[in-house]
């Protein structure tokens, strides 16, 4: 058996040109599919982490089908509900630039509150807070930057709050390039400044978020929130999870196209492999038959040969995918996945190896690959040897 394996390796090494095209195509195909698996698993993990960080409840002031500013006084009320660990009022909203019908998302951040800054630390990592707060500054997303540049707002932009005053806010910095998609239309600034620009009066916030200590009390607290005020809309963590999943499935549609392309490519590989058996392997099979190899020995030999090619292509493809996604940050593919402003962005993907999916990919890839050669090899083996040995 070892001798046979040694002979097989000799053939593989010396006839590597025969396998090289299929090897590269297969490696590329596996790399693409494995990249998608890595990205999706990583994002799934990312979503789970994001959801973990999300508040358990978001309370909005909702009356007659309209969202209103939420009274800050509710914060204290909610703090008195047993089981509620943390309550926070948020300031955010859309700024509408009427001449171009353009919306920007303004977010007010308390830069001294570590709890709030935590979620954005990757975006404002090197921010000198003292300097930033010394005057009215803002950090803007790439989309906002492009827009401002286009209309010559290179140093500052003057907002017009509802009270008809003017707020000249300087462009302090741009978000890191990696965070383009999430922060594309985002502007962050100091909380009081955001409050003024958005016209949210003192004593009010945009909404209130709550975290609870014991998940077993979830339903109980939810009911208490409902009865505490009748003009509220309560968004739960489950609602947010559903929203994320919906977004994710939508992205899955784009990847259906990718999968179809992959399947077509794979079929082409199989066809090429099938044709190759007809051409290049004929001589090899004839020699082996003439020196006394049995049909089953030749079939198992060719199966092993192709298994090695497919296996190495698979491993190399997976390694390439790993490097592409987790070391290089999956350029191009990441843009398709991260096309939503609702997903929390990370400069790099969280390294997750989806073992079961990779095993399935291995099976889907290798088995048809081997099946594609069994039939033609068998047909060559059982044909009349006198036709070929002349």
């Amino acid at each position: 058996m070892l001798n046979k394996f040694h002979f097989l390796l000799l053939l593989l090494i010396n006839y590597r040109k025969k396998h090289i095209a299929i090897f590269f195509l297969s490696t590329m195909l596996v790399a693409i599919l494995a990249s998608v698996l890595f990205i999706s698993s990583s994002l799934q993990k990312d979503i789970n982490i994001t959801l973990e960080q999300q508040a358990d409840f978001t309370v909005q002031h909702f009356r007659a089908g309209h969202l209103l500013d939420t009274p800050s006084s509710w914060i204290d009320e909610y703090l008195n509900i047993p089981g509620v660990a943390n309550v926070e009022g948020r300031i955010y909203g859309m700024h509408y630039y009427e001449p171009k019908e353009q919306y920007f998302m303004i977010i007010g951040v308390d830069f001294y509150d570590k709890q709030i800054v935590k979620g954005m630390q990757e975006l404002i990592e090197n921010l000198d807070v003292e300097k930033f707060l010394a005057k009215k500054n803002m950090i803007i997303g790439a989309g906002v930057k492009d827009f401002f540049d286009k209309y010559s707002y290179t140093k500052y932009y003057t907002f017009r709050p509802p009270d008809r005053s003017k707020e000249k806010v300087y462009i302090y910095d741009e978000f890191p390039k990696e965070s383009t998609i999430l922060t594309n239309d985002m502007i962050i600034m100091d909380k009081p400044l955001a409050r003024k620009i958005l016209g949210i009066k003192d004593g009010f916030v945009t909404d209130i978020i709550l975290k609870i200590t014991n998940q077993n009390e979830y339903q109980k607290i939810y009911e208490k929130l409902i009865v505490s005020h009748f003009d509220t809309r309560i968004i739960t963590k489950k609602d947010i999870a559903k929203h994320y999943k919906k977004l994710f499935n939508y992205k899955g549609g784009i990847f259906m196209v990718l999968y179809i392309v992959a399947i077509v490519t794979f079929l082409l590989i199989l066809y090429q492999r099938y044709s190759m058996v007809q051409n290049s392997d004929v001589k090899e099979i004839n020699i082996l038959r003439s020196v006394g190899w049995q049909v089953n020995e030749i079939i198992s030999f060719k199966l092993l040969e192709n298994f090695i090619v497919a296996f190495v292509a698979y491993i190399v493809g997976v390694i390439f995918a790993y490097i592409y996604v987790f070391f290089l940050g999956a350029p191009v593919l990441r843009n398709i996945f991260l096309g939503s402003a609702n997903l929390q962005i990370h400069p790099s993907f969280i390294a997750v190896v989806p073992t079961s999916e990779l095993i399935i990919l291995f099976g889907i890839f290798v088995l048809p690959f081997l099946l594609a050669i069994v039939i033609p090899v068998w047909r060559l083996c059982v044909r009349d040897m006198s036709e070929v040995l002349r």
Binding site: Y15, I287, S290, E297, S386, L389
Partner: protein, 222 residues
């Protein structure tokens, strides 16, 4: 040793048209004999060799080798028979071009449970006997026609088979290499091998070490 009795071989093509390649042919070849099968192209020489090598079954008739009826062999037994008893040398150079001369002998040996040392010894002996030991490490693609033929001979004899079947072995060789081939065959005969050479090359006429010559014409033994 080899006994063929009343052999007929009829080929039928896809249009159901039949052609009889061998007609009621009978012959006997004793152990350690060197036999020539003479005949023009299409006379049935190769068909006869294929039947002796169990690469093909006759339409009817008896083929005995060492008192065993090889016609009834299954694929399994035919493979073992070809591996252990028969060496088949063709006019075409059926070799792994990208492998070296010695590596080309491996497919005959890897089926057996041999140690690397035993494999090395067998290869070395076969290469010496076929006069190609000096090219052992060279790739087949760089060899001349005569050297390739010797490589095929080395592969054929590496398993020490009893019967060597040669189908037009000198068809692609020049005179010098043909003589060289004959020298190797002579050596093999001295070592007790039974040799059957199908040829229409006149170079084989009146050789002292050839025991019998059969003339085949239109499938009949003359």
């Amino acid at each position: 040793m080899i006994k063929l009795k009343n052999i007929n071989k009829i080929f039928t093509d896809n249009n159901q048209q039949s052609f009889q390649a061998l007609k009621n042919l009978s012959l006997e070849i004793q152990k350690n004999e060197c036999v020539l099968l003479h005949g023009s192209s299409g006379s049935g020489k190769t068909t006869l060799l294929h039947i002796i090598a169990s690469l093909m079954k006759p339409s009817d008739g008896l083929v005995e080798v060492n008192n065993k009826n090889i016609v009834s062999f299954s694929d399994y037994h035919a493979s073992i028979y070809r591996h252990k008893t028969i060496a088949y040398i063709t006019q075409s150079f059926y070799l792994f071009d990208a492998l070296s001369v010695e590596q080309n002998l491996l497919p005959c040996l890897v089926l057996e449970t041999l140690t690397p040392l035993e494999i090395e010894q067998k290869i070395s002996q076969a290469l010496s006997l076929a006069n190609i030991a000096h090219k052992a490490k060279q790739k087949v693609s760089t060899l001349s026609g005569g050297e390739k033929q010797r490589c095929i001979i080395a592969r054929a004899i590496v398993n020490n088979p009893e019967i060597i079947l040669c189908d037009e072995p000198t068809a692609n060789l020049d005179k010098e290499n043909s003589l060289h081939f004959m020298e190797v065959m002579k050596k093999l005969k001295k070592r007790g091998k039974t040799i059957v050479i199908a040829t229409h090359d006149p170079i084989f006429h009146n050789l002292e070490w050839v025991d019998k010559t059969f003339y085949i014409k239109d499938g009949y033994l003359e």
